[in-house]
Symmetry: C2
Subunit: 333 residues, 2 copies
């Protein structure tokens, strides 16, 4: 295992200290927990949006803490759900009196632990609501998950619910818009290679020299099948068709697109993928309002990518276009 780390047991702490050192204008770390919060937290009267999960998916989620997105990100150990206590500390640190929305990716451990934190906060009289993201159309009831997994589409929930909260909306309104995004977003991915959890020190799955996995999860959970590598166009066509089979998008409707690199895939290849995504949408008369190409929800050093399509209406479009200013996501209106 070649990794640029010090002690495998301290990778999350080392990373979080390095993040705060890099971005003190945006974020700070809580002293008593692996939680990154907005520098000016809590913001009085503003609904706070909190997300998190296991580490190893950077910039998710701490990279999205800042104006117009998250108020806090809870960093569990690598590929491990944060504890209820950690989430509870995050909630207490960012509640400005208007309540807190928890954005949870659909993994059984995350759902359970975020829910327990909600119960703890309820006892303190903090209003907490939650939404569960399940955008991955590949498989139902995967390892770690009942139902569908939450993957890169989660970043659209952060962006849009964060913009709504920034405008001063109520907790009920922020939750309503988050659920609307969840209903309208779909993703699917593929991998060329596995990743190595630092404490394990070996790949969590292996693929043959010409083999790829279609529909795997962001922790290496099995996908729909393995096959020999095909062209970028062929693979992308399969992923986009699976997404469009799952959600009705009519000719003339608008979408936002995210082509997300899992880590080791060159940006060159992500743009080659986007060429095909764009051609497919155009040929169906679907209008692309905005496209994001880069690394948004990674999986340690896994090679591969996912495609996310978010169906827009006027409300979602306006919120997507609102300003955001965070370490990993900036939007200039």
């Amino acid at each position: 295992m070649k990794k640029i780390i010090n002690n495998p047991n301290n990778v999350v702490e080392d990373m979080l200290h390095g993040m705060v050192a890099a971005h003190p204008e945006y974020i700070k770390k809580l002293d008593n927990a692996n939680v990154i919060v907005r520098k000016n937290s809590p913001i009085k009267g503003k609904v706070a949006v909190v997300s998190g999960g296991g580490s190893g998916h950077e910039p998710s989620h701490a990279g999205y803490v800042g104006t117009g997105m998250l108020d806090a990100a809870v960093a569990g150990a690598v590929f491990t759900s944060p504890t209820p206590d950690q989430v509870y500390e995050a909630v207490k640190a960012v509640d400005g009196g208007a309540g807190v929305l928890l954005v949870i990716k659909n993994y059984s451990g995350d759902v359970m632990n975020f829910d327990m934190a909600k119960d703890l906060a309820d006892m303190d009289g903090i209003k907490v609501e939650s939404v569960v993201v399940n955008d991955d159309v590949a498989v139902e009831n995967s390892t770690y998950t009942a139902g569908r997994r939450g993957i890169a589409g989660t970043v659209f929930i952060h962006k849009i619910a964060g913009a709504k909260a920034e405008q001063g909306a109520s907790l009920e309104e922020v939750k309503r818009i988050a659920e609307k995004v969840i209903n309208n977003v779909r993703s699917m991915g593929m991998a060329l290679s596995s990743c190595i959890v630092p404490a394990a020190g070996k790949p969590n799955f292996t693929l043959g020299e010409d083999e790829i996995e279609i529909g795997m999860g962001i922790h290496g959970e099995p996908g729909t099948h393995r096959e020999n590598i095909k062209t970028a166009d062929e693979i992308t066509e399969h992923l986009v068709n699976k997404i469009l089979d799952d959600i009705s998008i009519e000719k003339g409707e608008e979408v936002a697109v995210m082509v997300n690199g899992l880590c080791s895939t060159p940006l060159m290849e992500l743009y080659i993928v986007n060429k095909k995504v764009n051609e497919m949408l155009q040929s169906k008369g679907i209008k692309t309002h905005k496209t994001f190409v880069g690394e948004f929800m990674t999986s340690l050093e896994m090679a591969g990518y996912s495609v996310t399509i978010l169906k827009l209406d006027d409300e979602l479009k306006a919120l997507l276009d609102e300003p955001a200013n965070t370490p990993a996501f900036k939007n200039i209106k």
Copy 2:
């Protein structure tokens, strides 16, 4: 070779079409050349800043075309200098009458071909000046290079010269500030693994299972030496010390830092590196004004990173803080 591509001979064209499809609000492609220009080019009366080089270093350089950075980026074949004709087409497309500054990374082919383009433009009466970036402190006179190589520090030239041009400065002033950045910027990198040029289909160097290369170039050119992998702190200490040995930065002076991932290194590890960089600078009483952590100048799928340190004065600091809005680099003042 597993790559997400179609035809290895068309990767640059496919990528550029995918980029324009993703970012039509910023960029367009010239019909007659692999050149990306600002959507609103040419801008009358503004000095244009043009860069480029071989492809395979994305988001360099087309990702930096937009407000406050580049006016055009010339995309050669993978790891191959653009032709003089290509550069000349870029110059003609973006000259708004105030002249053009070429920002060239120090590779013999790039220097020669950009210079020939300058001669062609001179004959047309277009004022063209050029600067050559040589920030890599690792080695002198490497493969492809007389003198030192130009690597990730180039992005600071784009940012700062681009800001100066955006303010309406003359060509002489934009060139002066670009040279000031070049005098003040130093970088050095390390690699855990090689990259694969699509048309070659095999790694351009190989490293042992526990072996790393210190000071290699962004095309896999040899560095100073190979050694067994050490901790992130030990490797980073070596790189930062080599940089600080090469430029005098006094206690109390300010710097900007870039921790640049070459492609396959997780963002988690880049932040672990930044923790050490920050601690070293702090212990020397050097103040970090701004830090950039991410992928700015990549090398196909190479694993590894580089550290760049830019010594600031009030003028450079103010220009670094100016707004920028491009596909890969956004700054909100």
